[in-house]
């Protein structure tokens, strides 16, 4: 297991290198640039700006310069958010996104897993359909509809929660964004849990566990859930990476200073260094989380071996 983990961590370096290289050239091949405005800049001014950011060099040279700096942990200055370096932007925004994201994931695993098990134990009954239909609300109602709807009802009409703002991270301000962020993964986790739970409950070892007189709660909780959670864990790797890096919709609607918006805004503004920064950051998270998922497989199903 240790050897496998080390091998995978070693493999992360070439993977990240490929991600950086492909992203860099893909981004630069796309039309438009960070200093294109509707009103043309004076040619001398534009040339000076480009020179300051090394944009006047051939692309391959720029890539070399970027790579050299990135290896030393310098992701450059943001083109759009002037006076901030990309590292500063990520450092200040990520803790916020992470806090909300982790809370949302925990909520989704507990609620989704619970609903999935509950429905699987009552397969094809009215209760099953009702529970699954409720869980599906999270994915059928898109978050750009759900967020204003919840703000309207809980914030404006009932005045229970603040309509937006980060409020220095106070709990009351984080409830709505966390719940909204958690709803789609609740639907995914509930459906995946239900589907695999139904199959696992029919397997021989569950029948054995029941036959030896184990109470139903233990059969489900200890024996069935482990195997049934395998596809959920597969889903969780990429899902966690996506959720803890924030969501542009939720950050915009609730006024949360996270990093989700940089993914979309960076691309639309052609903020090259910011895009590369978030790509490297997100890529590292994906690689790390997928490694953790693969290690978790071994815990959930001891028969899984990597050799």
């Amino acid at each position: 297991m240790l050897a496998y983990t080390l091998r995978r961590l070693g493999g992360a370096i070439p993977t990240l290198f490929v991600v950086m290289t492909v992203s860099f050239f893909m981004m630069r091949l796309a039309p438009g640039g960070p200093f294109d405005r509707e009103r043309m800049l004076a040619p001398a001014v534009e040339a000076n700006i480009k020179k300051a950011y090394n944009l006047d060099q051939p692309l391959v040279v720029q890539y070399g310069i970027y790579l050299g700096k990135a290896l030393r942990g310098d992701l450059g200055p943001s083109f759009k958010y002037q006076d901030y370096s990309v590292v500063e932007l990520i450092e200040s925004g990520f803790p916020v996104s992470f806090e909300i994201g982790i809370a949302a994931i925990l909520l989704a695993v507990i609620a989704g897993g619970g609903l999935g098990i509950f429905a699987a134990l009552r397969q094809n009954s009215g209760v099953d359909h009702a529970v699954m239909a409720t869980a599906m609300i999270g994915i059928t109602v898109p978050n750009f509809v759900m967020a204003p709807l919840m703000t309207l009802v809980l914030g404006v009409y009932l005045r229970l929660l603040p309509v937006g703002g980060y409020g220095g991270g106070s709990l009351r301000n984080l409830i709505l964004p966390t719940v909204t962020l958690a709803l789609p993964p609740v639907a995914y986790i509930a459906r995946l849990t239900r589907a695999s739970m139904i199959e696992v409950l029919r397997s021989n070892y569950i029948r054995t566990a029941r036959a030896k007189g184990l109470p139903g709660r233990l059969v489900v909780g200890r024996h069935a859930l482990r195997a049934a959670f395998l596809p959920v864990v597969s889903y969780l790797g990429p899902a966690i990476a996506g959720i803890i890096t924030g969501s542009v919709v939720i950050e915009t609607i609730f006024g949360i200073p996270g990093i989700g918006r940089y993914f979309v805004q960076g691309a639309l503004n052609r903020d090259y260094t910011l895009v590369m920064g978030v790509v490297i950051f997100y890529g590292s998270l994906i690689i790390l989380l997928n490694l953790l998922v693969d290690l978790a497989y071994g815990v959930l199903d001891p028969k899984i071996r990597y050799d």
């Binding site: 070439p14 993977t15 490929v18 991600v19 492909v22 992203s23 893909m26 981004m27 091949l29 796309a30 039309p31 094809n124 359909h129 699954m132 239909a133 599906m136 994915i139 059928t140 109602v141 898109p142 750009f144 509809v145 204003p148 709807l149 309207l152 995914y188 459906r191 995946l192 239900r194 589907a195 139904i198 199959e199 029919r202 195997a227 395998l230 596809p231 864990v233 597969s234 889903y235 790797g237 990429p238 899902a239 990476a241 993914f263 691309a267 639309l268 895009v275 978030v278 790509v279 997100y282 890529g283 994906i286 690689i287 997928n290 497989y297 199903d301 028969k303 899984i304 990597y306 050799d307």
Partner: protein, 298 residues
């Protein structure tokens, strides 16, 4: 009791008559009430979408200057009201169904075919093959999706087929990881070892033994891919890659409606009902199919 007895009888009969898996599955699907109702509802929506131009006196792109953001009005035959540009929402919702259902189904099929095959191969072979294939998936996850979309647009121009390509290219990734995870667990089971010991070819083990046993999570995930794709399409349309005015889709209608949630709630409600109803139907049909194809469930 009688029900259990008949199904017992039919099982024995099936074995004697040697009915195919498909006939068997169809018969079981027919007994699932939720799935049957869903198939009817979805067929109905599809028929509405196909015959949309004949169902309303209004063309989908006609602007009614005197009825901008008008609430549902039966006298004028604006059954769902009109949108912010004064176009009839009933016809637009049905035209939106064409794009959304087509994109949803096509992109989900792509993700199904590529994701399941890719995941099963990576998981079954394991070792270096698995490492290489899964690192490729990690790279695909990490690439900036927006630039991928912009580049596609630059190279091929604006075309609706590109939506399928762009969405299909990302939607298979999680499917592949789920199937690979299941395969890693399945390939150590006794029946796979038995098949291998019996000299069954690798391709056949993957096709006949591994893939059918991943069907539960695969169908559950596919039914979630459809709404995901329909919403991604609305995002791409917003960026200019998806459907362009005057054409529309459910995703676009819903996001336009969300902006008018207080001033013109019908702009959100009607497309949202169609979207939600179809998604629930896909959901129940998916569950029905899963049950119908489950070899252990007789």
């Amino acid at each position: 009791m009688t029900d259990a007895a008949t199904s017992q009888d039919s099982t024995t009969l099936e074995e004697i008559a040697g009915r195919s898996l498909w006939q068997d599955a169809l018969a079981r699907l027919r007994r699932n009430r939720a799935a049957v109702v869903s198939i009817f509802v979805l067929s109905f929506i599809t028929l509405l979408a196909i015959f949309a131009p004949y169902l309303s006196p209004h063309p989908f792109d006609e602007v009614y200057w005197d009825a901008i953001r008008a609430p549902p009005d039966f006298a004028q035959a604006h059954w769902f009201g009109t949108d912010a540009n004064g176009r009839d929402l009933f016809v637009r919702t049905l035209y939106g169904a064409r794009v959304s259902l087509a994109v949803g189904l096509a992109a989900t099929s792509v993700s199904l075919v590529i994701g399941v095959t890719y995941g099963a191969i990576a998981g079954y072979f394991g070792g270096r093959v698995d490492s290489a294939m899964m690192r490729f998936v990690d790279v695909m996850y990490s690439l900036p999706f927006l630039f991928f979309v912009i580049l596609l647009m630059v190279v091929f121009g604006r075309h609706i087929v590109l939506i399928f390509v762009a969405i299909g290219a990302v939607e298979w990734l999680t499917m592949a990881r789920i199937v690979r995870g299941q395969t890693l667990s399945l390939k150590r089971r006794e029946f796979i070892e038995a098949a291998r010991a019996g000299g069954v070819s690798t391709a056949k083990i993957i096709r006949r033994h591994i893939i059918p046993n991943t069907i539960g999570p695969v169908i559950a995930y596919s039914t979630l891919t459809i709404p995901q794709v329909i919403l991604t399409e609305s995002f791409l349309s917003f960026l200019g890659l998806g459907v362009q005015e005057p054409y529309t889709s459910w995703g676009v209608l819903v996001s336009e409606g969300a902006a008018e949630i207080e001033s013109a709630p019908w702009m959100l409600i009607f497309p949202a009902i169609f979207l939600a109803a179809s998604l629930f139907c896909f959901n129940f049909i998916g569950d029905g199919l899963r049950d119908a194809f489950d070899p252990r469930d007789r």
